[in-house]
Point group: C2
Chain length 117, copies 2
DNA sequence: ATTATATATTGCAATATTACGATTAAATTA
DNA sequence: TAATTTAATCGTAATATTGCAATATATAAT
């Protein structure tokens, strides 16, 4: 009689620190070209709506909406309802956190110490 | 008679620039806590082998091997065969490219321009 | 009230990812 | 040569992701 085999297909987050999980979650969020494109367009135009991105990128409305939700869930963007539209923009605080976390991670590798193998 | 419906479940890379795809691919590669942990351990110990990481992280040998392959495929690490072991280390050039690409991306958002919505 | 506009959600199909055991491959050691 | 060590690959199971059409929801305009 079997109770649990093990969690197949699921990331074993408990093996890692909160910082490792957070860094990975942020990296994963920007780990799709559509979400990179969305962020770049938001940065350029300050704010924009779903429909703009559908035009700009060329994916279906539902698909863009889904990508926006993922970026929102990780906190990198925020949306404000304006009539029938929703105005999206970068969340400056989270963007700063993203930058700081990644910078810190990158800097831990000191290029002067020859890392060869 | 139907030839192509469309590519379900597959990222539509042709919609994006090479730079967007490259940035996303690198972000995706570090978008898993196990791969973050592997990179951090490589940075700390300069080089290490599969078995070390299995001990350190606590995932199965095959799983660590798979994560190592993903990091190798994107070019962030390299492996050198040494007897029965394979010594892994960071690829300094690619690490530098990673850093430069992300830095450039982060900087395009200028915090002074109030991005609110 | 009805129609138009815009986005979110649901449902579905297909591929991708995560994880592990078992096996294979390749070099080292006894 | 045979046994040991180490890592890669194969096979499999389960979940996650990607993408779209269709539908639902909610506000604005007629």
């Amino acid at each position: 009689m079997q109770y649990i085999i093990f969690n197949m297909g699921v990331t074993q987050k408990h093996l890692f620190t909160d910082q490792q999980n957070e860094l990975a979650a942020l990296a994963k969020a920007i780990g799709h070209p559509a979400r990179i494109a969305i962020l770049q367009h938001l940065i350029q135009s300050n704010t924009c709506i779903n429909g703009d991105l559908v035009q700009e990128i060329g994916l279906a409305q539902a698909t863009i909406s889904q990508h926006l939700r993922e970026l929102k869930e990780v906190g990198l963007i925020q949306g404000t309802i304006e009539g029938t539209k929703v105005s999206y923009c970068i969340h400056p605080g989270k963007w700063n956190e993203l930058q700081t976390l990644f910078d810190g991670f990158f800097k831990t590798f000191d290029k002067c110490c020859n890392s060869s193998c």
